[in-house]
């Protein structure tokens, strides 16, 4: 038999002979003994010395064993202090009273040493079991607190990253559980330097911290590349490659990425494994599904990853609605899914676009009986560009090493034009010149227009008048993609020249292409305010820069930017 650790045992017994006998037996079994000759003494001894176990006579003067047992149990709290009643009581009623008072067992007189030892041992086992249960409960509680605290810290760090974006822009409405991060849901939004808006709704596989782990690098890539002026394709390729590299095989991220262009009135979409999003036309009431055409991020190798996007026209008031699978996969009591059809019924019944979120939530509650916390939804509407104010970029360098007298020329040829967007590099180079930073938005917009004119209308020979209506719009981007794939020859040249002028300076940008050119005179005759879908963005360029001019039958564009002395 396994030797027991000695216990401290309180013996409460009014009969001196019985007390002496019992004390001796218990002591000989290796335990420490405390004695009391009535209930009140027993409670006091328990209070001051906290014995492990109590042997309690039922009938005692001053305070009987029943009352003493109740008080001791109350003092012991959660700790199990077994009480064995010493009794020659035989009536079941009296025995029941012992149990009601908190007694755990009985020992009949005359005492039997073997039975007493066995009972003490059994009660000690019970006592230890209870102590272990309490210990483990506390341990679990501590672990739980620890986990929650970790999540709080992770969330705080993540919120710093996630909220560096523009989710609070007036054209964005979203619904997300505060701990959506730990459901693997991710919602990001940021302005590009030209004032377009990138929005990402992502859903990592899994739950808890593992699901949240990938969110940080994804957000960093999203914000970093958006801020530098990269388009969706480059950003997607980078996000995919990064997640593929760092995530384990069974982890990936379903995502829809949007680029809303307020100036061009369009939305570019890439959906990898997310439920259908919807583009809602405010005028016609028509809904276009934005269906997943790709595998999630982090699945394919960089070589096989498909970054092709779709572009749809969007007018002021049109909305894009994205949602996580928590909406569609909500189950009712019978394991029935909420499903796309029910969602579409909610859309169809919607009369007030602003109430759509509440209506979906209500439908989910009605369906399930309670709200789930892994439901993420976002709605982005197209506003007039003037209603949005993208934040000014922040630069961290001091400006002491600013270059002021230089020129550089690039020639980007077919193989490069297919897959490389040179604008972020060119812009980063130009923003070494502090005087240009104040007009970064205009500079971005003008360079982006010049480059896309040279590429799309020049090198690819696309007809801008196609973009006049919605179907032509889609055709335009299909042709763009097809012609870019087939491109063999052609170039876009960019010449940048920075010259000091007094305390300030001047930037001259020339962009040339290998295309057929255009009728400069006819295009220049159009009114300057025409910045709609078609028109080569010429008006925009003329509004935002100085001395915009075209030569060589439109194949060469030239603009200037000036700046004054720095404050």
């Amino acid at each position: 038999m396994q030797p027991l650790e000695p216990l401290t045992i309180l013996i409460a017994e009014d009969s001196a002979a019985d007390r002496m006998l019992l004390s001796t037996i218990v002591r000989r079994q290796g335990h420490e003994v405390l004695t009391a000759s009535n209930g009140a003494e027993a409670v006091e001894a328990f209070r001051s010395q906290r014995p492990h176990l109590v042997l309690m006579d039922a009938m005692m003067p001053v305070m009987d064993g029943f009352e003493a047992a109740q008080q001791i149990k109350a003092l012991a709290g959660e700790t199990l202090v077994p009480i064995i009643f010493l009794t020659s009581l035989t009536e079941s009623e009296a025995l029941a009273r012992c149990l009601e008072a908190g007694g755990d067992d009985f020992l009949a007189k005359p005492y039997n040493q073997v039975i007493l030892a066995a009972k003490i041992k059994a009660m000690d086992r019970l006592r230890r079991l209870q102590a272990t249960v309490l210990e483990q409960r506390d341990l679990i509680a501590r672990h739980h607190d620890y986990l929650l605290n970790e999540q709080r810290v992770a969330k705080a760090v993540f919120d710093k990253v996630a909220h560096s974006g523009c989710l609070n822009a007036p054209n964005i409405r979203y619904l997300q559980s505060p701990y959506a991060l730990f459901n693997g849901d991710l919602l990001l939004a940021a302005f590009t330097p030209v004032g377009d808006m990138h929005v990402l709704l992502g859903d990592f596989t899994g739950h808890g911290l593992p699901a949240a782990v990938g969110a940080m690098p994804l957000a960093e890539v999203f914000y970093g590349m958006t801020a530098k002026g990269y388009g969706l394709s480059e950003t997607l390729r980078e996000m995919n490659a990064k997640l593929k590299r760092i995530l384990p095989v069974d982890m990936f991220c379903c995502a829809t990425l949007l680029r809303l262009s307020f100036q061009r009135g369009s939305v570019e979409v890439w959906n990898g494994g997310m439920p259908d999003g919807y583009l809602h036309n405010a005028t016609s009431g028509e809904r276009t599904a934005l269906t997943a055409r790709h595998l999630p991020l982090g699945v394919l190798s960089p070589q096989t990853f498909d970054d092709r996007t779709e572009v749809f026209p969007m007018a002021v008031g049109d909305r894009v609605f994205l949602l996580s699978d928590g909406v569609i996969d909500t189950c009712d009591a019978n394991e029935q899914l909420f499903g796309v059809e029910r969602l579409e019924q909610v859309f169809a019944a919607n009369r007030q676009p602003d109430a759509l979120f509440e209506e979906i939530e209500q439908a989910l509650r009605d369906f399930r009986g309670e709200a789930r916390d892994d439901v993420s939804m976002v709605e982005v509407s197209l506003l007039d560009a003037a209603q949005l104010s993208p934040p000014a970029p922040v630069y961290s360098d001091s400006g002491q090493s600013c270059p002021l007298d230089w020129s550089v020329s690039f020639e980007f040829r077919a193989a490069t034009l297919k897959r490389f967007n040179p604008l972020p590099y060119l812009l980063q180079l130009l923003f070494e010149v502090h005087g240009l930073r104040a007009q970064s938005g205009a500079l971005y917009s003008v360079l982006a227009e010049l480059y896309s004119n040279a590429l799309e209308h020049g090198v690819l020979g696309l007809d801008s008048s196609l973009k006049r209506d919605a179907s032509g719009f889609a055709r335009y981007y299909q042709q763009r993609s097809a012609r870019l794939d087939e491109l063999q020859d052609g170039y876009v040249r960019v010449h940048l020249q920075v010259t000091p002028k007094g305390e300030g300076g001047c930037l001259t940008v020339r962009v040339e292409d290998s295309g057929k050119g255009f009728d400069v005179v006819r295009v220049m005759e159009r009114p300057v305010d025409d910045v709609r879908l078609s028109g080569r963005g010429v008006s925009l360029i003329r509004q935002l820069s100085h001395h915009a001019s075209w030569s060589d039958n439109g194949r060469s564009a030239r603009v200037e930017f000036f700046w004054e002395a720095q404050a």
Partner: protein, 115 residues
């Protein structure tokens, strides 16, 4: 020896457990019992009578005073059922039984001290 009044097996077990404390245990029992007997004689209500008889029964049984324990049990039952008629006779019997076992315990004490 006759075990009607005193169970010799119980006594030898007690001696084994108590070792040097055995004579003191016997002393304690005897003085304890004197006290309980006087309480029994003075008791004027059934509850007190029952409670004292109950305790006396317990320690008598522990000490191997078989007959004394039986008589205390009977008294306890009668007190509980409130059958107090002729109860003095029963208390008297208990008195008598104690008068028998007392010298037996004292002899036992002497015997153990002499060992």
């Amino acid at each position: 020896m006759d075990n009607t009044h005193l169970d010799r097996d119980v006594l030898s077990a007690l001696q084994e457990v108590m070792e040097d404390g055995y004579p003191e245990l016997l002393d304690t029992f005897l003085s304890d019992s004197e006290e309980r007997l006087s309480l029994l004689r003075k008791a004027d209500d059934a509850d007190r009578l029952g409670a004292t008889a109950h305790s006396f029964k317990g320690s008598s049984s522990n000490m191997g005073a078989t007959r004394l324990a039986e008589l205390c049990h009977e008294l306890e039952q009668r007190a509980k059922e409130k059958k107090l008629e002729g109860i003095e006779a029963l208390v008297g019997e208990i008195d008598g039984e104690f008068a028998i076992v007392r010298p037996l315990f004292e002899a036992e004490r002497q015997r153990s001290l002499a060992e």
